[in-house]
Chain length 206, copies 2
């Protein structure tokens, strides 16, 4: 794969968000300075980020919004759909299934699992909670691109191991634990409490 | 302030989570190996992380759970309460106000603001949505430690500027934009879509 720093990928996402808003407002060109503001960076960095992918603005005119938007979508892999399985049907798992923003961006939640008999069979947003024991069996027949780990911290590593064993190579982790995975597996962690504690640490130690 | 890498602070949060669970299960000592598993690291790294703060396990016995837990709480600044103001009363803002996990960890949501007349005055979880125009006036009298920016990407930077202008030095940003703030202000970003796109990038480019 192309070796691009995570911070660059994040800026590309931010530029894309901005281009989408900009297009909605009917604008057809955008300057590197405007993109820089949104990405928290400089015009020079924007030009460097984009020239790396072969996109060059026109001096005095800037970038064409639809063309750059389409190019960023391709680079970020957003021109296809991804199948997401969610493991853990607690509060966050349920919120994920009810969150409309996934589908809009090309991420289809195709199944949700839990091992709690009280939850198995419940229906959320048209998805029935499946028995987690079925995971391996199901993933033999139904491809999953991304596994969302929404279990307790205790269970998270073994769930991640099982997903990886099924061939899942991208994990979105909501549990407060640092998952250990093989090198070819990508993990992103989303955890509000960890971010809050990073802020309280800063507040308490200055 | 003590200069500690963000990755270390994150591991300390993970160790703390683990110690809390461990204590609930009635355990009184824990090994560096067990802490390492949860932190996705090695026993040597755990010993290094903790010795930095003057905490030393006993060979063959490990660390005392209640004492280490208390020490980590102090280091992370969790022995006091923090006042959080939320700016933006959309879907995520409303979810934040309704989320019980904040209070449990010492973060009190004290006010929520919006500039939409249709939202101002609505009550969520006992908090009335206030007019964002009042922000500066209110924060003169009511201390805020942390500002949560839950606005559109468009509005996020100016809201952050206003919070910083009011003396807020820690910002939790949910908007898909890289905020530019003075050096002494800490910002943590929580954004599910950015994390998903980082995964789709990886999946599309290998």
């Amino acid at each position: 794969m192309r070796k691009i720093a995570e911070s660059t990928v994040r800026r590309l996402s931010l530029y894309l968000r901005f281009l989408e808003e900009f297009e909605e407002q009917g604008a057809s060109t955008i300057s590197s300075a405007a993109l820089a503001t949104r990405g928290g960076t400089t015009s020079a960095q924007v030009r460097k980020d984009l020239s790396f992918f072969g996109s060059f603005g026109k001096r005095g005119l800037g970038y064409e919004v639809p063309a750059l938007k389409q190019q960023l979508r391709e680079i970020l892999g957003l021109d296809r759909r991804y199948r997401v399985v969610v493991v853990g049907a607690g509060k966050i798992g349920s919120a994920l299934v009810q969150y409309g923003g996934f589908k809009d961006r090309g991420f289809d939640l195709v199944a949700i699992y839990d091992n709690d008999p009280a939850k198995i069979g419940k229906k959320w947003n048209g998805l029935s909670v499946r028995d987690a024991a079925q995971l391996e069996q199901d993933l033999k027949h139904e491809r999953a691109d991304i596994g969302a780990v929404v279990t307790s911290a205790d269970a998270a590593q073994s769930v991640a191991d099982r997903l990886v064993g099924c061939g899942v190579t991208a994990i979105l982790n909501f549990a407060p634990v640092q998952l250990t995975v093989p090198e070819q597996v990508a993990v992103k962690t989303v955890n509000l409490v960890l971010e809050l504690e990073a802020l309280s640490y800063v507040l308490a130690n200055r």
